[in-house]
Each structure stands twice: as structure tokens, then as C-alpha cells.
């Protein structure tokens, strides 16, 4: 007989092996060097086998011994789900990967507009549903140990102590490998590899016992079939309702159980692994269940009456003194229990910490005004996960202690399944129906879950809560509310009854409320993303192969940071890591640094989305897009402010340029003016100097000559004076410092005075034609200045008119506001090319005949402008013609 000590030794050795394997796998994954087989479909398929818990390993035989072939429905459901992988699981896995889903609660929350209420609901449901299941595993280990203890002569076995230490050990394992680090993908290579190893152990163990039973005990296949038919379970007798209901429940639980979701979706390396798993996993289930009936039948036949059929797998080899086989069988059961507990605790802790602990913690720190630093949050998340694992395990242990571990294993399993299956309508609806809304999902979950609790959980598990009277006559005597005969449907099996009502109410509430409610924009976006995931997400491939990732990261960084900076950054990372390759391994630390580096250039959200896209192959989620849009909006605002500033700057620059141009022009004009002035001054000065030198050097000059020379000097001096007067006048006019003496006088008088002054002392007669009747206009203006203008114009006509009999016509045309005075002579006029420049300073049409300096018309124009009028040359006349336009009421104030 195997002693308890040997058993303990083997168990500890086995657990150490698991620790080593998990540690090794984690280490390899951390270095980014995970072996090829670690990412293979085989490992994926084996990890799926945590579906087969101790309930399968021990319970299936007990189930078969009690109810015949019905046990097989537990495996038919998942088989059917796997067969339909192409349109079911594949979509689920694709959604999970592209949305970076961390748990089933996260999936539903993401689908229904990131609703945390929904996530909390699913989490609570999962905890309530899975806790009995965990305690079931603890119970199975205890029972199996007890079998050995009974057989051990030197027994020193303490049941509750064993359970406590097993629970603690499993919690340690889950904490050590499930929360070692926070991975963006939520993948745990160590745990997965350990689970795969355990899957092999339990399959080998059960098949070994099966082969021993069929060929060792029964003596061959035909014999075993005959002995089955002769046994108490030798007839086909299943309840059709239960058969269908349990198949459905198993299928639903296969998808909805948190631990199944963890290994199937979250830990999935590559969507294409499903292609292999689609036939490999049904094969695994088939092998697991094919020997169950023979073992049950032989057990019923050979074991003493009253022995627990749940433990036939263990007791049959022991009965036959096959200690080695019994030990293997024990390890198989141990594996089934431990792998389930570890993964279940891990997945539940993810849900509890993500959806319950973290929101509370973040809210509380917000209340204290603490800023959430990323490193800070990481450690808090890790602590929350560890705490949650311990709590879940504690709950399982507590449940085991309270329930006393009496009920048949399979019953608890089915109750748990039907609770978890309540998630199915919201899940399937979320994946295939865009109209599914958050309110609908909540309503469905609420009705389904409460019906399950009322009709199955409370009557079966906490029977003390209901008095026998309530069960038989309904609460408060309401017969239609009897927990196990709702609405008068009697005679159904409790499971069947519960599935019927909970699923009906669940689906009905889900559909009706979904149709009646209106989804938020986020829900609608996410709904489209989920339902049409194959249109929205990238291909199925996982970004396996770390070198490819590093290269892609390098290319992306080069585009964002610039080639030199990116290469320097990667080079530094290589040196830090001390790796052999030219590129660094994409470790979490490196990725975090790179993300920070990139976020400086393109914003945190965009950087996170881009790195996530490359490393995990996940599509960019709506949340990411919103965050990126926020950042871009800020950038846009900033850049539009910059743009406005730059427009203003360029406007100012243009103004400055224009001003500068004007100043340069003015400066040039000034230079030109100065040179002309000096030229004009030099001409008379030259003759003055020359004639004064003659007078000084030739005292013997004749008197007539002396007189002539002196008068030339005098004339030139006069000319100089006149020129200087004109210049002074012009500068005063131009600078605007002129004071106008406004008075009222008739135009006729002004013209009379001008004609008289201009023609006084003229050497040749100029005939002036005037129409005095039209000149009787009273002007209010500076009369002297106006007269000066007319004198100048008349003198010009007198001076330059080329006609033999020079004539000047002065025509006055008064109107309401202004008066026009045209002065035309009958000469040749101003040549075409000079007409534009005659009003400029020092412009002379015929320099050889010049009497003046060419300032007359310039002065005229300045005066007339000062008086509020204008002067211009009239085209289209044979002689020179000038038009003076004047306002009748001089607006002196404005002029000044």
C-alpha cells in the first residue's frame, strides 16, 4: 500500500516540476525567445483542456455510474462549439485580440459602450458561479487524499488542514505566475505551459486507467461491452430534456466560463491555432470520456456496495493493488483540480481587480487629489490582482468549509454551469446583433441570474433558506412562484426547469429591452466594430517572432523620431539589454521607454495605439481613436493659433516693407531734389562769380560794359532770390505749415488782379478773352494764393505761347459745389511726353527758354490742393490748357 508520505513526496515533486516548467517558460517569454512549440496550436489545444477539471476526472465516472450516458453531454456541447469554430469562436477570438480584451467581463463591457456596471455585474456573477466550482476542486483533492489515507496503516491525516495548505499553495502558484508582471496582452506563458503539461498528465492518467480496466480487468473490448450491458447502467435511459439542456449548458459554459475565456481568447497567440484545435480538442474530449462508462460499469460490479462512484478512477486500481497506476491516477486528478483552480483564480482576479478594485481605488485617489503616475498604478494593479487571487481562493475554501463537501460533485458543476450560461445571450447577441444594447444586456443578465438563483442555486445549495413549505406551496402561498415549479410547470428536472426559465426570461428581457432602448454613440461604434470585426480588424496573424517586431518598431520610430535619433535610441537599448543581436528585444521595459519617447512626438494616445498595433497585432480601438482625436484637436488648436500669429506677423512685415519702400523713395526724391536745387543755384552763381571777377580784374572796363555786367549780376541775383523764394514757398506748402488767409471775394476780381499783374511789363501782348458774366461767383478762399496761381498760369501762357498772336481764353463754369476755370492758349501746347511731369519740381519743357527754375506749376498744384481743389492739364486742345477746380465754400478746417 502506498503510504501517505510517499503520496506527499510525489505530489510535492510534481508541483516542483510544474513550478520549474512555468518558471522556465516565463523566463523564455520575458526574453522574447519563447520556443516555437510554446506558441504552437498543440499548446493552445492542451491549454483548452482546463475545461476538464476534477469534475471530469473523478466526477464523470460517478455521473455515469448514477445516470448512465448522460455524462457525455458535458463534452458534446464543447465539441459542437469547436466544430462550429469558423463562425463562432473565430469571431470571438478575433474580437478579443483586436479589442485587447482581458476577460469575459471586459468583453461585454467593451461591446456595450465600456459600461463598467455591466462589467461589475458579470464579475459578480462569475465569482458567485465559479466559487462553488473551486471548492469542488478542493474537495476532490481532499477526497482522493482521504482514499490513500484510509489505506495507510500509519494515518495521521487532518482533512481540513490539507485543504487549507492545498488552497494556499495553489494561490501562491497563481500569484507567482499569474501576476508576475503586467503584460499589455495579459498573456501568461508560464501558466499556459504548466496547464498544458497538466493536460497531458490527466489524459495519460485517465487513458491508462481506462486501458487497465478494459484490457486488464475486463479482458478485451467485446467482453467489456457485454459487462457494461449486464451492469446496472446497461440500458439506454436518459431524460431527453436533460440531455438537450445539459448539452446546451456545456456549450454555453465552454464559451462563457472565465477560465475558458482566459485560455481560449486572452492567451491565444494566433487565431489560426483554432484550425487545429477544432479537431484536436474534440479528440481530446473523446479520449477523456471514452473510458468513463467501462470504468463506471466495472467499478459498480467490482467495488463493494456503498463505495463512492466518484472515486472509482482511484479506487479501482487500488483495489487491484496497482499502486503505480493509482499514483498516476491521483496525479491526473490532482492536475485537473490544480490547473482549473489556478486559471480560474487568475481570470477571476483579473476581472475583480480591473472592474471592481481599480475603479474604487482610482476614485478614492481622485478624491484625495493624488495624481495617478503610471508606475504607481502598476504596482497597485499588481497588488489588487494578488489580493483578488487570495480572496477568490479564500472564498472557495470558505465555501468548502461551510458546505461540508457533501453534495455530489456533478451537481455543483451543473449549477455553476447554468449560472455562467446566463452570460451567453449578451455575448452572442453582442457578437452577432448590432441592435443589442447595454440596457438589454443588463436586463437579460439580471433576469437570467435572479431566476437561476431562485430556481436552482438557493434550493439546491442553500436549502436551509427556503422552508419546505415554500418549496411545495410557493412563497406566501403563491403557487405559481414555487422555486422548482415556476408558473405551474411541474414535473421537470430542476436543471431542466432552471435552464428553461432562466434562459427564456434572459433572452426575452435582452431582446425586448434592446429593441426598446436606444444605444449611446460609443455602444453603436463598438457594436459595429464587434459585429463586423472581420471588416474592421487586420488579419488573423499574431505578431509572433520578436525580431520582426523589433524591425517594425525600428521602422516606425525612424519615421517618427528621425533616423539618427531612432538608431541612437535602439543602440542604447541594445547595450542596456546586453543582447547579441543588432536590435533590442521588445521587452516590456523597452516598449514602455519607446512609447514614452514616441509620445513626446505624436502624443501619448497615438504612441500607445501604434505600439499596440505592432506588438500585439491588435486593431486600434475606438477608445484609442478618441484619445488620438483629443490630442489632434489640441494640436490643431495650437497650430491654428500659430497660424493666426504668423499671418499677423507677415501682415506687419508687409507694412514695414511698404513703409521702407516709401521712405527710400522719399529719400531718393530728396536727393534728386537737392541735386537739382544745387544745380539751379549754381548756374546763376557761376555767372555772378564770372562777371564779378571780370569787374574786379579789369578796372579799365568801359562804363557801358561795367554797367552791363553789373546789371547781369543783379539779374542773376534777382533770379537767385526768386528761386529761393519759390523753394521756400514750396517747402512751406509741402510741409503743410502754410497759413491761409481766408476771405470772400468775387472770382472776377481775382482774375482781374491776376491778369493785370501777369501782363505788367510784358514785352509782347497777350490777348486775354474772358466772359465776365460767368465770373461773378463769390469765393471763400485764400484770395492772394489763388491769384498767385492764376498769375503763374497767365505768365506761362504769355511766356511759352508759340503763336504769333497769342491769345488766352479763360472760361469759368460754376456748378453747385465747385467751380471750374479753364485757361487755354492758342500755342503748340505741352508736348505729349511732358504732360505727366509738368507739375513736378524742376521740370521744364524747354530748358533753353527757361526763365524760371521749373517750380511754378509745382507750387500752383500745391496751393490748389491746399485750397481743396485740383489742377490738371487738359488733353484734346490744340494749345496748352489747364483746368483749375475749386470748391466754392472752401473747407479750410479740413484742408488744414
Amino acid at each position: 500500500m502506498t503510504s501517505l508520505n510517499l503520496l506527499a513526496l510525489v505530489s510535492i515533486g510534481y508541483v516542483s516540476l510544474l513550478f520549474l516548467v512555468a518558471f522556465w517558460a516565463d523566463r523564455q517569454a520575458l526574453r522574447g525567445r519563447s520556443a516555437r512549440f510554446m506558441r504552437s496550436p498543440l499548446i493552445y489545444t492542451l491549454s483548452l483542456s482546463i475545461y476538464c477539471t476534477a469534475w471530469t476526472f473523478y466526477g464523470a465516472v460517478g455521473y455515469a455510474a448514477r445516470s448512465g450516458l448522460e455524462y457525455v453531454t458535458i463534452y458534446l456541447g464543447p465539441t459542437l462549439v469547436m466544430i462550429g469554430w469558423w463562425w463562432g469562436l473565430r469571431k470571438l477570438v478575433r474580437v478579443g485580440r483586436s479589442q485587447r480584451i482581458s476577460s469575459i467581463a471586459d468583453l461585454l463591457s467593451a461591446r456595450y459602450g465600456k459600461s463598467n456596471v455591466l462589467a461589475i455585474g458579470v464579475t459578480l456573477l462569475a465569482v458567485i458561479g465559479v466559487t462553488p466550482y473551486i471548492s469542488l476542486q478542493l474537495q476532490s483533492i481532499t477526497l482522493s487524499v482521504a482514499i490513500f489515507a484510509e489505506a495507510d496503516p500509519a494515518r495521521s491525516y487532518n482533512e481540513s488542514g490539507t485543504v487549507f495548505w492545498i488552497a494556499t499553495g495553489l494561490a501562491c502558484f497563481a500569484i507567482l505566475f499569474g501576476t508576475r508582471n503586467l503584460n499589455a496582452n495579459e498573456r501568461h506563458h508560464g501558466v499556459v505551459i504548466a496547464v498544458a503539461l497538466e493536460a497531458v498528465v490527466k489524459l495519460v492518467a485517465l487513458v491508462a486507467v481506462g486501458i487497465f480496466v478494459v484490457w486488464g480487468l475486463a479482458g478485451g473490448l467485446p467482453e467489456v461491452l457485454a459487462r457494461i450491458d449486464a451492469s446496472p447502467i446497461g440500458r439506454w435511459q436518459v431524460d431527453g430534456g436533460r440531455w438537450v439542456a445539459i448539452t446546451f449548458l456545456a456549450a454555453a459554459a465552454f464559451v462563457c466560463l472565465p477560465r475558458m475565456f482566459q485560455v481560449m481568447v486572452v492567451e491565444n497567440e494566433d487565431e489560426r491555432h483554432l484550425r487545429i484545435a477544432a479537431w484536436a480538442f474534440p479528440t481530446y474530449l473523446l479520449l477523456i470520456s471514452i473510458f468513463v462508462v467501462p470504468i463506471a460499469a466495472l467499478g459498480l460490479e467490482l467495488m463493494p456496495a456503498g463505495s463512492n462512484p466518484d472515486l472509482f478512477v482511484l479506487t479501482l486500481p487500488l483495489l487491484q493493488e496497482q499502486n503505480g497506476l493509482a499514483m498516476l491516477s491521483f496525479l491526473g486528478g490532482f492536475s485537473s483540480a490544480t490547473s482549473m483552480v489556478i486559471v480560474a483564480a487568475m481570470s477571476l482576479s483579473t476581472m475583480v481587480s480591473n472592474h471592481i478594485v481599480m475603479p474604487i481605488w482610482l476614485r478614492s485617489t481622485d478624491a484625495f487629489g493624488g495624481a495617478s503616475v503610471s508606475g504607481d498604478v502598476r504596482s497597485v494593479v499588481l497588488f489588487a490582482r494578488r489580493f483578488s487571487i487570495a480572496a477568490v481562493m479564500g472564498l472557495g475554501y470558505a465555501y468548502y468549509q461551510i458546505s461540508g463537501g457533501g453534495a455530489a460533485l456533478a451537481a455543483i458543476g451543473l449549477i455553476s454551469f447554468s449560472g455562467i450560461a446566463q452570460i451567453l445571450p449578451a455575448l452572442v447577441g453582442g457578437l452577432f446583433w448590432r441592435g443589442a444594447t447595454r440596457a438589454g444586456a443588463l436586463a437579460g443578465l439580471f433576469f437570467g441570474f435572479s431566476t437561476w438563483g431562485y430556481t436552482l442555486l438557493l434550493p439546491e445549495v442553500a436549502a436551509g433558506l427556503f422552508s419546505p413549505q415554500t418549496l411545495t406551496e410557493g412563497p406566501f402561498g403563491l403557487g405559481w412562484l414555487r422555486p422548482q415549479a415556476l408558473f405551474g410547470v411541474e414535473g421537470l428536472d430542476p436543471i431542466e426547469h432552471c435552464v428553461l426559465w432562466s434562459m427564456t426570461l434572459n433572452v426575452a428581457a435582452f431582446c425586448i429591452v434592446s429593441v426598446a432602448s436606444f444605444p449611446s454613440p460609443m455602444e453603436r461604434l463598438q457594436g459595429a466594430q464587434f459585429v463586423h470585426v472581420f471588416d474592421h480588424s487586420a488579419g488573423p496573424g499574431g505578431w509572433t517572432g520578436s525580431v520582426a517586431q523589433s524591425e517594425d518598431l525600428m521602422i516606425m520610430s525612424q519615421r517618427i523620431l528621425g533616423p539618427e535619433e531612432a538608431q541612437a535610441f535602439f543602440q542604447a537599448a541594445v547595450e542596456r539589454q546586453g543582447g547579441p543581436g543588432p536590435l533590442p528585444e521588445p521587452t516590456p521595459g523597452f516598449l514602455e521607454q519607446l512609447e514614452r519617447e514616441l509620445s513626446a512626438s505624436i502624443g501619448a494616445a497615438a504612441a500607445h495605439a501604434m505600439i499596440g498595433q505592432i506588438v500585439s497585432g491588435a486593431a486600434v480601438s475606438v477608445e484609442d481613436l478618441l484619445a488620438v482625436a483629443d490630442e489632434s484637436a489640441q494640436l490643431l488648436e495650437y497650430s491654428s493659433r500659430l497660424e493666426a500669429q504668423s499671418v499677423e506677423l507677415s501682415r506687419t512685415a508687409r507694412q514695414l516693407r511698404e513703409t521702407n519702400q516709401k521712405l527710400t523713395q522719399i529719400s531718393e526724391q530728396k536727393d534728386a531734389f537737392l541735386s537739382q536745387v544745387s544745380h539751379e543755384l549754381r548756374t546763376p552763381m557761376t555767372s555772378v562769380r564770372a562777371f564779378s571777377e571780370i569787374l574786379r580784374d579789369n578796372p579799365s572796363l568801359a562804363d557801358t560794359d561795367q554797367h552791363r555786367y553789373a546789371s547781369i549780376i543783379h539779374d542773376e541775383a534777382l533770379r537767385l532770390t526768386r528761386l529761393l523764394n519759390d523753394l521756400l514757398d514750396l517747402s512751406v506748402l509741402e510741409s503743410g505749415q502754410v497759413t491761409l488767409n481766408v476771405s470772400r471775394r468775387s472770382l472776377s476780381d481775382v482774375l482781374d488782379h491776376a491778369v493785370a499783374s501777369a501782363l505788367a511789363g510784358a514785352d509782347r501782348a497777350l490777348q486775354v478773352h474772358r466772359d465776365h458774366s460767368r465770373e461773378e461767383v463769390v469765393l471763400e478762399t485764400d484770395v492772394d494764393r489763388l491769384a498767385q496761381v492764376f498769375i503763374n498760369l497767365i505768365a506761362n501762357a504769355q511766356k511759352y505761347c508759340t503763336s504769333d498772336t497769342p491769345e488766352l481764353h479763360i472760361e469759368v463754369t460754376p456748378s453747385d459745389q465747385q467751380i471750374t476755370i479753364d485757361l487755354r492758349d492758342n500755342g503748340a501746347g505741352v508736348p505729349e511726353g511732358f504732360r505727366d511731369v509738368i507739375f513736378e519740381k524742376f521740370s521744364r519743357v524747354t530748358p533753353e527758354r527757361a526763365g524760371g527754375a521749373g517750380l511754378g506749376l509745382a507750387i500752383c498744384r500745391e496751393i490748389i490742393r491746399r485750397l481743396g481743389g485740383d489742377i490738371c492739364y487738359l488733353h484734346g486742345h490744340s494749345g496748352a490748357a489747364f483746368r483749375v477746380t475749386l470748391p466754392i465754400q472752401s473747407k479750410i478746417e479740413e484742408i488744414r
Partner: protein, 135 residues
């Protein structure tokens, strides 16, 4: 209900007439949808079998023997597994867009078009930079 099942190419035509290969693939996907239903129906067939009498005559076993049920259920099961193996290979043959390794390259094309101004590949340039440093 299923607008695209992700098995086709990115810009595959949605016309009534497609090439033979695409047509085959789509019919394959139809089979994939029907298979679980057929499997479920086959698993339910034993429910119609005669059961044990409520008042069985002594020494005359009534109803279907357990062994036949066992053989039937596992035969159907094995049949489904064989179908799944076949389907798996059919997917590999027909749904190349889904199984092909170039799917990830497609993603890379979208996100990371190669830099036009740096013709050399990044690893080479890093190696070059490193060589220079060592020199």
C-alpha cells in the same frame, strides 16, 4: 448577418459571379455553419430510441442496450472529428487569405510603408552605425 467572414481578400469583389476558387470557399463556409447543427441533431437521435419499460418483464431485457448507445455516440463523435480534420485541411487549401502568412505583411504595408529616403534596411543601418562606433 455575417457581412464578411474574414476569409476573403481585403478588396474582394462582392458580385454575383466570382471565380471558382472563391465560390468553393464560400460553399465551404456554408458547410462550416451547418456542421454543428447536423452534429447536434445526430447526437439527439438516441432520444428517439426505445427506453427501458417502466414495468419490465422479468429476465427479458428491454430497451436499447448501453453498448449500442455507446458505440453510436462515439461513432458520431469520431465522425465529427474526422469532418473537423477535413474542414481544417479544406480551410488551409481554400481560405488562403486567412491562413496565409502574408496577412501580417498586409498590416505592415498599411502602417509602415518603407521610408523612401532610406533605402537600406534598418537592421543593416544599425549594424553599420555600430561598426562605425567600434571603429
Amino acid at each position: 448577418m455575417i457581412r464578411s467572414d474574414g476569409a476573403g481578400g481585403r478588396d474582394e469583389l462582392r458580385t454575383p459571379f466570382v471565380e471558382r476558387r472563391t465560390y468553393r470557399r464560400r460553399r465551404l463556409m456554408d458547410i462550416a455553419r451547418i456542421a454543428p447543427l447536423v452534429g447536434a441533431l445526430l447526437f439527439m437521435v438516441p432520444l428517439l430510441w426505445p427506453r427501458q419499460d417502466l414495468y419490465p418483464a422479468p429476465d427479458v431485457p428491454s430497451g436499447t442496450p448501453m453498448s449500442s448507445a455507446l458505440v453510436y455516440i462515439f461513432a458520431v463523435w469520431i465522425g465529427l472529428v474526422v469532418f473537423a480534420v477535413g474542414f481544417s485541411y479544406a480551410v488551409r487549401r481554400w481560405a488562403v487569405h486567412w491562413t496565409g502568412l502574408d496577412a501580417s505583411a498586409e498590416v505592415a504595408e498599411v502602417l509602415l510603408e518603407p521610408l523612401p529616403e532610406t533605402p537600406d534596411t534598418p537592421p543593416a543601418s544599425v549594424a553599420a552605425a555600430r561598426d562605425e562606433e567600434q571603429a
